[in-house]
Symmetry: C2
Subunit: 477 residues, 2 copies
């Protein structure tokens, strides 16, 4: 008979009908109660076996991690914590799991240990909940943009252009590293490489997405991006996924509206569609907070944080205002900041962003109109000649979750900027074409997907919200 | 006033209200009729200006490619081909387009020329229709899997494992290519590379996806994959997107059912949601077919092909049956095949696949149970000891669109296979763990996204269905 998923079963009231489920043993109590999980939900189905009537050689093989096929009658459960259970009539061990060798024991493992077992950690409650939420957020993003008239664009992963300057890049090559061809100047002859030039992994699809926005109107990318930076922190990955919407005719205000509406919508989606996983992660978060000193505990639970973001307006603050607030702040006056704010023009560090979001405003903040000197070449220069139409969305506990801007649409200003930034204009001939032919104002932003998943799941380390994290010295699996 | 998209406007009957649209000029006729497009639909909105009352300096700037903001009254159109038009009261040129320099002229350009203008070709009817369809197909895929209880998994792009063996790989490195560190044996010392080992771009996320299927039950990947093969054909890309579902407890029959249902569902989605773009591409396809000799023309239009696939069962044929059919076929007997089929065990070439699909069965075909020797190590060995539970879905005009299999779930058989294939067992310790702990039968497949987009749009060259194609000697943009 066809198997039914546990998620379907748990909402079924088809009592006293025979059902077959297949899944993996989470626990086996009193030689009688199997908690079986098939990944369709965080909840297990309780399967009750008749110890007397069951072959002892089968009983012995019911161990944590074993794969079983179970057939029996669906019944209302008398036990606490579940509505239905299965009264087992047939049990088949599909795959054994030696309890002495299975790395995932029915106890609490550290996240550090589980990172080394990334192929098995998905069999735990925490990681299955996190990854189901990651999947739901991914769908919510596609759903939001589709419903709002955006087109998804797959911008290239391998790029011959390194003009964006968002960070250090990984080189992609098929040349023999032991003996690469050299040109007359004695340099590596990349004309003999696969693409006939030096190529790298993309740091952003924005520039390509802009060319599509200037034809399709509203577009977004959702793909992997890369940074070859030696950052061993809980906030950085060498390979991560990014969402980059880009909209023709949008100014910075419309861009801020989009970012806020977008984030609220996808969080609302998971609150409506992922209740069980969120309830579990909410409890996990609370339990973890309890282990911290009282003054370091979060003021809100995970669910409260999600609802708070959905229900409150993001505070919009200009860079200039923010500098004034920071200059006069207690930690600045008492020299508690590592980088003291003394004048306009300073680049904000994460300690400053955290102060603004977590201490001063106590809500998500959108900072805008940054000094031109500390932002990228493509951002639109304001009439003051010294600030650009940049924006960063800052989240409590996460820091920068979105970075975006209105783009410089004026060819002459952009060319001047490119010169100042010492970028090779020829590299960007195609990007400049969008300003040569039918230019118009447009805006967009990038959202780091893993930061969003962190916020939505309450996970502290970014390595725990992506299936197989890539970090310095680590490309296992 | 806020702009409205042309897609919304064309289904509006809000006559005699003032509206503002922004977009790019496609054509300007008789100094009076502007066809404006904003990318939201393939259709243009006709904007009628009063020549007498319009500033001549503005009229001069209304050229193909220029960006305009137009305000006026929405009116029922008297002209053919559109239901509504705008009677222009205000016109603003946002960005000029010098008609002598703009590469996209209002005439037919060759696809070869347009590939060199990949940042601007999206402003043509054909490419905007193709890329909107690509986006719709992408959404349809996420929608199908989400509705059917699958979880999306982002498998790693940079991989330290090269065991899959699906093709040549691109090396990813941050070592200085001019002077890479060497170890004592005189080889490149990859322990000093970013990840502490040699890394490449992934050729498939299957092995990692399998580990997730063995916990979440049903999963799928949708991400970029890479082949460093020097194939300069209309069917190959060095960077392409692949969809790889993987389902625990599915056997090969269920895998075939899934592939067929999945393909039919996403094609149905675009027939229901992308009528205008498909109508345009259908006409383009018919026009192109007319330029071919009569005996080479397709028997069906694009729309007929899509409906045919949706309405007919895919023919399921074993490899052994297929060999018999091919052995006795006319082209084999008359030695018209480049590779003659003489015996069981031969690898099928695309000429054979095309004969089966286009001449013999005249419908999509699923070939299954291939000789073990010509298929990958992870495919499940049949009881006959010489065939494996592999399947390929073959499509008319496209060839292989899906390749999949039931996976070998038995640890001992798999270990034997790995030895035969001379793969380093240690590389796959984590993959083998899924067979060590709670193994179960499972199946999956890979679908080349661009092949699907080709089929859905009728485009002949795979370089014309991805925004910025990567091929040997080409990584522009």
């Amino acid at each position: 008979m066809n198997r039914i998923s546990i998620a379907e079963l748990l909402v079924s009231d088809n009592y006293l009908h025979e059902v077959t489920v297949k899944g993996w043993v989470r626990t086996f109590r009193s030689n009688r109660f199997i908690a079986l999980n098939d990944g369709s939900t965080i909840k297990n189905i309780q399967c009750v076996i008749d110890f007397e009537k069951t072959d002892p050689s089968i009983i012995k093989r019911i161990t944590t991690g074993a794969a079983l096929s179970i057939t029996g009658l669906l019944a209302e459960s008398v036990g606490a914590g579940q509505s239905v259970e299965i009264q087992v009539s047939k049990i088949e061990v599909l795959g054994d799991s030696n309890p002495e060798k299975y790395p995932i024991q029915p106890k609490k493992h550290s996240f550090e240990f589980l990172r080394e077992q990334a192929h098995l950690r998905i069999r735990t409650n925490t990681f299955s909940a996190v990854m189901r939420l990651r999947s739901a957020l991914s769908f919510a993003i596609h759903d939001y943009f589709t419903k709002n008239g955006f087109y998804n664009v797959h911008t290239p992963i391998i790029t011959g252009s390194d003009a964006e300057g968002a960070g250090e890049m990984f080189r992609v090559s098929t040349l023999n590293p032991m003996n690469p061809p050299k040109n007359e100047a004695g340099e590596i002859d990349f004309t003999q490489d696969f693409f006939g030039k030096e190529t790298n992994l993309t740091v952003s699809g924005q520039l390509e997405a802009e060319t599509y926005a200037m034809a399709l109107g509203k577009v977004y990318t959702f793909g992997p991006t890369f940074r070859a930076e030696n950052s061993n922190t809980s906030r950085h990955l060498a390979e991560f996924w990014m969402i980059e919407p880009e909209v023709a005719f949008n100014n910075l205000d419309a861009n801020m509206d989009l970012a806020e509406d977008f984030i609220k919508s996808v969080l609302k989606y998971i609150l409506e569609n992922c209740k069980d996983d969120l309830d579990f992660l909410n409890q996990r978060f609370l339990d973890e907070e309890k282990t911290k000193p009282a003054n370091q505990r979060s003021e809100m639970s995970l669910l409260e944080k999600l609802n708070f973001v959905i229900e409150n307006n993001f505070k919009r603050v200009s860079y200039t205002e923010a500098i004034e607030i920071l200059k006069n702040s207690k930690p600045n006056k008492k020299k508690k900041f590592q980088y003291l704010i003394t004048e306009w023009g300073a680049d904000l560090q994460s300690e400053h962003e955290r102060f603004l979001v977590e201490t001063h405003f106590k809500c998500p903040v959108i900072l805008f109109d940054y000094p031109a000197k500390i932002k990228a070449f493509y951002m639109r220069l304001n009439e003051d000649g010294k600030t650009v139409r940049a924006m960063d969305v800052l989240f409590p506990g996460i820091g920068e979750i979105v970075g975006g801007s209105q783009r410089e649409e004026r060819l002459d200003v952009l060319l001047e900027k490119i010169k100042t930034f010492e970028i090779d204009e020829k590299e960007l001939w195609w990007y400049l074409d969008t300003r040569r032919f039918g230019t118009a104002i447009h805006s967009g932003f990038g959202l780091g997907f893993e930061r969003l998943v962190q916020f939505a799941t309450g996970m502290g380390n970014i390595r725990d919200v992506i299936p197989f994290p890539r970090t310095p010295q680590n490309a296992e699996f």
